[in-house]
Assembly symmetry: none
Homo-oligomer: 203 residues x 2
DNA sequence: CGTTTTTTGGCACCAGGTATCAGTATGAAC
DNA sequence: GTTCATACTGATACCTGGTGCCAAAAAACG
């Protein structure tokens, strides 16, 4: 006999709940044409929590301050900042930053941390990323804490440009490295084309 | 007699629940030193729904498709895709993508569109961004529609690496340009270090 | 056929409530 | 003092959406 029916139902169940986590067991009963006990056995086997737990988890996620402001001005917590010299920020790879299947952080989050720090370290009202040269050295994974260190290589007092080098580590492993060129507003009145990133003077 | 106690309690109750919507009536009992019946009367008067309803509402809000996936697998709508050749994606700069003050798009969104497209255009189960060389030519602003065009310059059948060039336009103005190096899984067994971006085979 | 897996039914129980009725305390009004 | 209104508390029945457990029925398999 094909055990498929059960497995198929399991797949369907997973899919249905993923599509609509608000389904009660009773509603699933109608959709899958099996008894409510079977639904519950299935959820047990598949480790799918009950409706209320699902809603609670969703509510918790949406209540999470980190997630509620999906991408704030500065990505990562800046723990050290010496303007026009260097800076350090921390960023923990969480559920919402990774691909669900692989657990690998989406590149732009890692990029965003580095970019934010590169912009923040510039001592100016407005700073704009002009260009960047970046390398993903190894993937950052769920749960890992990324430590980004930025060093201002040339503050660009003369040209309105600054070069900032950023290294991102997990532990002592480098995961990312980038060279950023940042336009700054103060030095030369209009210091060329605007970049793609604004620094709006906060922490 | 001051009716303040009741009003104060009502204020406190509202504040407590706003701060932590996960509080049950029983927990509120402890915090406000009144009976559970009083808590329930208060909630009734203040039209504060029960815990489960609160969680459900939060879950529903977070399930809102627009809000729930702030940064999905692929940023931007891919409107054309010729695997291992080229691709086009559209991305509208919305409120949540810009700095509130300047209305300028945060760089990593523009980057993310380009990066997503560069990865998507590679015809392979897993594709990882290894490095990138990017330039923000002018800022993208709120409401603008970014059109990213990706061209595979060398599909890398031999080395497990592919080079992809991406140009992003608003109208006929170029706002971003990037050269991406993408590792691909299929060609050579272990094609070197993993990059920072995974392609999980969708659309 | 017998055995195993799968499915179903039934029952007790739980949290976190709603709804309703009754009783108590307290202070102000007459 | 008595009466009345308001606030608070208690108790009970009931609801939803489950868990946990046990037993029986049904289906599939060798």
């Amino acid at each position: 006999m094909e055990r498929l029916p059960k497995r198929q139902r399991h797949q369907q169940l997973s899919r249905l709940i993923e599509e609509n986590p608000f389904l009660t067991d009773r509603e699933l009963t109608r959709l899958l044409k099996v008894s409510i006990q079977t639904i519950r056995l299935d959820r047990l086997e598949l480790a799918i929590p009950e409706l209320r737990e699902r809603l609670k988890m969703m509510a918790e996620r949406s209540y999470d301050p980190v997630r509620s402001l999906p991408l704030h001005e500065v990505i990562g917590d800046i723990v050290d900042l010496q303007l026009d010299k260097s800076g350090i920020s921390l960023f923990e790879i969480r559920e919402e930053h990774v691909f669900s299947r692989s657990g690998i952080a989406r590149g732009h989050h890692v990029f965003a941390q580095a970019n934010s720090l590169a912009v923040a370290v510039i001592n100016d009202e407005i700073a704009l990323t002009a260009s960047a040269d970046i390398r993903f050295i190894r993937p950052a994974r769920l749960g890992e804490k990324c430590i980004a260190k930025a060093y201002v290589r040339s503050s660009g007092s003369q040209k309105g440009k600054a070069k900032v080098e950023v290294f991102t580590y997990v532990g002592d492993e480098m995961v990312f490295q980038g060279n950023f060129v940042i336009y700054r507003s103060r030095m030369a009145g209009d210091a060329g084309p605007e970049g793609g990133e604004a620094h709006e003077n906060r922490g």
